[in-house]
């Protein structure tokens, strides 16, 4: 029980954010209107993705120093979960964009950057598949992971800020960012972010343990 408190917290927070996200009062902004509720679902996906990819980066560094197989497993599983959340983020964003921007894909710099970041991590998985020997696979894919991560940071955090984006809060759109997010949204938004980050961590630990059990079985047989 003591160890599981954060899993309960994650469930409670996510359930709360879903119920509150749909039912609570939201400010009526031009263009956005009720679609503003998407902030409680779309943005936490990116937070979860970035946290998971950072975890993957850290475990890749650890693997290079320790050559411990478990670190490699953790790196690949957190990358997997990060990719899933990235895809969810793209999909929730595209559905929302269809209603507010008129097109599911509008050549927005943030949209493009997110898609490219996913390509980097899909390439990481392809690289892993092309290597047979486990230690070599771990080492080489860790090198690629560490090499790609700083470039992904530039891609996600610096390049979109150099051009105008259609995203709310950028380029004179009505909207919100950390400074001017409407106060009514905050009590739901921050718990949602925390909840989804915890859920992604939970999924990663489960996947990691499954992989460890599988490895042990392979070893015995």
């Amino acid at each position: 029980m003591n160890k599981n408190w954060w899993k309960i917290l994650a469930t409670v927070l996510v359930l709360y954010s879903i119920i509150a996200g749909f039912l609570f009062h939201v400010p009526a902004k031009p263009i956005l209107n009720e679609t503003i509720r998407n902030i409680h679902f779309h943005v936490p996906m990116w937070f979860a993705m970035i946290v998971m990819l950072t975890v993957s980066f850290i475990y890749s560094i650890r693997y290079l120093n320790s050559a411990n197989e478990n670190d490699d497993l953790m790196a690949v599983e957190s990358a997997n979960v990060g990719i899933i959340f990235g895809i969810l983020g793209l999909v929730t964003g595209a559905v929302w964009a269809k209603y507010t921007w008129g097109e599911a894909w509008s050549n927005d710099p943030k949209q493009n950057s997110a898609a490219i970041a996913l390509l980097v991590y899909l390439a990481y998985l392809v690289l892993r598949n092309s290597l047979e020997e486990e230690q070599k696979r771990g080492k080489i894919s860790a090198v690629y992971n560490i090499f790609a991560f700083p470039i992904m940071v530039v891609l996600l955090f610096i390049l979109p800020r150099m051009t105008d984006s259609l995203h709310p809060g950028n380029g004179g759109n009505p909207g919100f960012n950390t400074q001017d997010m409407a106060p009514e949204l905050r009590p739901v938004f921050y718990p949602a972010v925390l909840g989804w980050i915890l859920v992604s961590t939970w999924i990663t630990t489960i996947r990691y343990r499954i992989r460890k059990v599988e490895n042990r079985e392979n070893l015995i047989n």
């Binding site: 390439a123 090499f147 470039i151 530039v154 891609l155």
Partner: protein, 220 residues
């Protein structure tokens, strides 16, 4: 032998190896020239500046992937083991990056020359455009050298090279295209300082991570 001397010797070795066979150099130059010519026959003329710019960078992208893929594959495992015993890993990666920068500078100068010869020249600020191209070739060299090192360790290095390098090079390419477009439109040079700064920053990050990571790759 200290690092500087090792790097100098290794670069000289690369150039000498290249000069003896001339196979890679001639091959890649022919590749660029024929690609430009194929594009010329397909397009005939390009009147819109964005297309002109985009086509040039696409040609450069494929040419540089082709040029740099070989940098780790062409040498046999036995010879690599020999280098491993006598030099440090840092010296190897620095020398490869520097050699590839030379190669890319040559390649891009020839590509740009031939491209402007065949297609009508639309450049507003040719000198600054040339500077953007030079900066681009340095960026390509620094990113692709490390990726080709990674790809060379896997089976099917050629195919993997494109998959691994394209997503990584796209951010650089986006900035490069913007920078060169500014130069093309003949905008004031001070407009582009942001882009130049980002490019230099990314290059520094890439080269430092390469230096840190290559020893792990090389030890194998």
């Amino acid at each position: 032998m200290d690092l500087l001397n090792q790097v100098k010797f290794l670069i000289r070795k690369e150039i000498m190896l290249e000069w003896r066979s001339k196979y890679a150099l001639n091959g890649i130059l022919l590749y660029v020239v024929s690609t430009v010519f194929v594009c010329y026959l397909a397009f005939r003329e390009i009147t819109s500046p964005p297309t002109w710019n985009a086509l040039f960078w696409i040609i450069m992208l494929f040419a540089s992937v082709n040029a740099i893929t070989k940098s780790f594959i062409q040498e046999s495992r036995g010879r690599q083991l020999y280098y491993y015993t006598i030099t440090s890993a840092q010296a190897i990666i620095i020398s490869k990056i520097i050699y590839n920068i030379f190669l890319m500078l040559l390649l891009s100068a020839i590509a740009l020359g031939f491209y402007t010869l065949v297609f009508k020249n639309l450049l507003g600020d040719p000198l600054f455009y040339f500077f953007a191209v030079l900066l681009g070739s340095i960026s390509f060299a620094s990113v692709f050298t490390m990726i080709s090192g990674i790809a060379s360790k896997a089976n099917n290095a050629g195919g993997l090279m494109a998959i691994l390098s394209f997503p990584v090079i796209i951010p650089l390419l986006v900035v490069l295209i913007k920078l060169s477009k500014n130069a093309m439109d003949g905008l004031d040079r001070s407009v582009s300082y942001d882009e130049i700064g980002v490019l230099i920053a990314i290059n520094i990050i890439v080269i430092t991570t390469s230096l840190l990571l290559f020893p792990y790759l090389w030890k194998d």
